[in-house]
Symmetry: C2
Subunit: 324 residues, 2 copies
Amino acid sequence: MSPPTGSPEVAELVARAREGNARSVARLISLVEDASPLLREAMAALVPHGGNAVVVGLTGAPGVGKSTTTNALVAAYRGRSRRVGVLAVDPSSPFSGGALLGDRVRMQDHATDQGVYIRSMASRGHLGGLAWSTPQALRVLDAAGCDVVLVETVGVGQSEVEVAGLADTTVVLLAPGMGDAIQAAKAGILEVGDIYVVNKADRDGADATVRELRHMLSLGERRKPGDWRPPILRTVASRGVGIDEVLEALDQHRSWLTESGQLIERRRRRAADEIEAIAVTALRERIGDLRSGHALVEVADRVLAGELDPYAAADLLIASVTER
Amino acid sequence: MSPPTGSPEVAELVARAREGNARSVARLISLVEDASPLLREAMAALVPHGGNAVVVGLTGAPGVGKSTTTNALVAAYRGRSRRVGVLAVDPSSPFSGGALLGDRVRMQDHATDQGVYIRSMASRGHLGGLAWSTPQALRVLDAAGCDVVLVETVGVGQSEVEVAGLADTTVVLLAPGMGDAIQAAKAGILEVGDIYVVNKADRDGADATVRELRHMLSLGERRKPGDWRPPILRTVASRGVGIDEVLEALDQHRSWLTESGQLIERRRRRAADEIEAIAVTALRERIGDLRSGHALVEVADRVLAGELDPYAAADLLIASVTER
């Protein structure tokens, strides 16, 4: 399974990352972000060492307290001596940094803790986007010995739901406030939650939000015996209130996943998504390469002249991509 | 160029749409939205009749007055007896309708005008999304004899910039308000504008917004002689103030496009984008078809077992897709 010509650099990086060297972990994730040519080899070296980390997705609209909750969960996991990775992804932004980096400042409690890796990721305009990069970054953190990886995403719609699909367990965060549950429903995140958390539960309107949420969840409910019933929990993450209960629910969901056979199902789907994203991106790249040449311009001109319809033009393009 | 077996239904639809029958135009755009199997044939029949419409993109953040401005532009064009199509696209929403449909209510001034087609489009979860559907919907309106097609998009980031790339001329709308130009810059829309319009210019802060915008545009400026210099205009679209000046700027940009040779360049790029989107979507569909079979699950299981890395798995997938 090792690549035919292994570069000493990649082998060294992977070996050091597996020993828990934070700099090597960071470097490997940068290879993912930059879509480095070395990545393929790195993934091949990492693959045999994965599958141990529990992947927890954390999502919700801006302002519900995702960073604070992540912070509190990290502290709780560290209190149980688990090694934790945090991957904060922003599907809506082509830029790295910004608001996310600002949030990361709050995470500096853990900055000097050897058992915690924290990383912000943006799609940086790479063709495959976060559906392509997130699973590969997860592989790095998994192989580096993280017991838990928290994937934090901003709840903004379609691509975010995709990222949530990467997790073993998805936690959907809400906060008290008129219409929050309705917003969440619109964004499609009420379909992906395994655990719902109403954060800032000491504020006015928390009861109403819980009620509203329970109602909306019951609307779509068609459960069979043995199905997981998503709990609705309350936290005040800034003071650590209710965090132990979230950890407990995460453990319970984990047990259910294993016993029901859903864990293997979810991981199979995740691997399939990852492979699919890599394959589609590779094909897109091949087509993109044609833009630098004349093939695409030639067929485009024929379409402009009304000689060729766009579907026939696409057929020509596909033929030239797949026949090489 | 006509398809080998033309269905009478499609030929009839195209013929009636070319005569200006609104119902046939609507039906053809529905074929695009639904990714109908009849679409290929419809595009082949439409292609020889295109290339006449001027395509104007209109974008900006929510609240700047896009619908009102579109409405005012439609009225102005109708005053000059031009036939106008409006395509309102929402790149951020997988749902059709919602806010956009609400906005459309305001357009009912034109509802009974035979010279205006108005249509909202959402990606509806189709694989190729709006990059796939928008150019094809444009083809319909173009072939139906529209002199101008206004493509209105919500300014929310990457995909929106892609849609703006479809236009001959892109109008970026802003409104007075602290940081609006900065928000626009973040969303990447300050790089795509051919004409900038500060709407609601009777409000406090309009001067500041114009200044700020001028400053931000000058930052990235590296123009050669003969390059287009994007004007910054002021409107109060709700009262029709400044709309004639926008039309004038649109005409000037159109002249510049033709004289500089940029029109053919932009349309070539648009056709290339359209062909590329169709080709990539077709390849994705082929890969997606594999999910219903066992091929993808098998390679996914080998990756889970650590026997295969995801890149090697993707290679197997690509091979099975391209060899058929």
